[in-house]
């Protein structure tokens, strides 16, 4: 097996996927705009570096405060500390919506459970009771299995 190909794969594995990066870029540009492959690669590297950079800042904060876990608030704080004020605001709003959704879901689950218990009936809980944090690694967005005849 060619070692150079393996090295490239490993390198790609440590970065955000170029397809996803390219898609985000395309969405923001006019329909007729084109993006060179090198530009996508550069953006891929920049976005990955951004991730590491902000994580480092967030992690330092946790360390100073004797906390072990980097959470969403730390990331929002780090964005602001590094000058990404607009991003920090938008991300904070996103985080709060997410937490609200999680709380509502947990409350709904509890209500369903209580309802079943109190009525003793066979009501199926509408909500999935497993943790909502079971996110799948993205493939190409199409999880259907297509078998060729």
């Amino acid at each position: 097996m060619d070692r150079s190909i393996n090295m490239v794969d490993q390198e790609q594995d440590g970065m955000l996927p170029i397809a996803n990066v390219g898609r985000i870029m395309k969405q923001i540009l006019p329909p007729r705009a084109k993006i060179s492959r090198e530009a996508k690669q550069t953006m891929q590297e920049c976005a990955t570096e951004f991730l590491s950079f902000v994580t480092g800042e967030a992690s330092d904060k946790c360390h100073k405060e004797n906390r072990k876990t980097v959470n969403g608030d730390d990331i929002c704080w780090a964005l602001s500390a590094l000058g990404f004020d607009n991003h920090a605001q938008a991300t904070t709003r996103y985080l709060h919506k997410y937490r609200e959704a999680e709380r509502d879901k947990a409350a709904a689950n509890n209500q369903n459970t209580a309802h079943i218990k109190s009525h003793g009936g066979l009501q199926v809980a509408q909500q999935n009771q497993t943790s909502n944090l079971e996110f799948r690694v993205l493939g190409k967005g199409d999880n259907s299995l297509v078998t060729k005849p």
Partner: protein, 122 residues
């Protein structure tokens, strides 16, 4: 009894709930990069990669927008690597990327000033 709603806006916009809509960036990969960023990063909360998928998306959008301005100034329709380099150099908050983009950019065309007085040796 009121059925829990689908929080439709949240789910449609970027898929916060995760189950019914994908995020724009894969969470497992984000988590991996976070862990690789330093030895101090040991534990990451479940919400952190989700928050980051949004933050990275915003970052890519901003850098792309700024790069595209350079593309347009050159009356081109294809965004090139040099446009991104230009945006990075021209934006303070992207300072941390300068060495990254200049690594791939050969600086042969940087002109260093030459002292004129050396020419006059009469």
């Amino acid at each position: 009894m009121r059925q829990p709603g689908r929080y439709s806006r949240l789910m449609m916009c970027g898929g916060i709930m995760g189950r019914s809509g994908p995020h724009s960036l894969p969470l497992a990969r984000i988590k991996k990069i976070m862990k690789n960023s330093g030895e101090d990063v040991k534990m990451i909360s479940g919400e952190a990669p989700i928050v980051f998928s949004k933050a990275c998306e915003l970052f890519i959008e901003e850098l792309t927008r700024r790069s595209w301005m350079t593309t347009q100034q050159g009356k081109r329709r294809t965004l090139h690597k040099e446009d991104i380099e230009s945006a990075v150099v021209g934006t303070d908050i992207f300072d941390f990327l300068v060495s990254l983009v200049s690594d791939s950019c050969k600086s042969e065309d940087i002109i260093t000033p030459v002292g004129i007085e050396t020419l006059d040796e009469s």
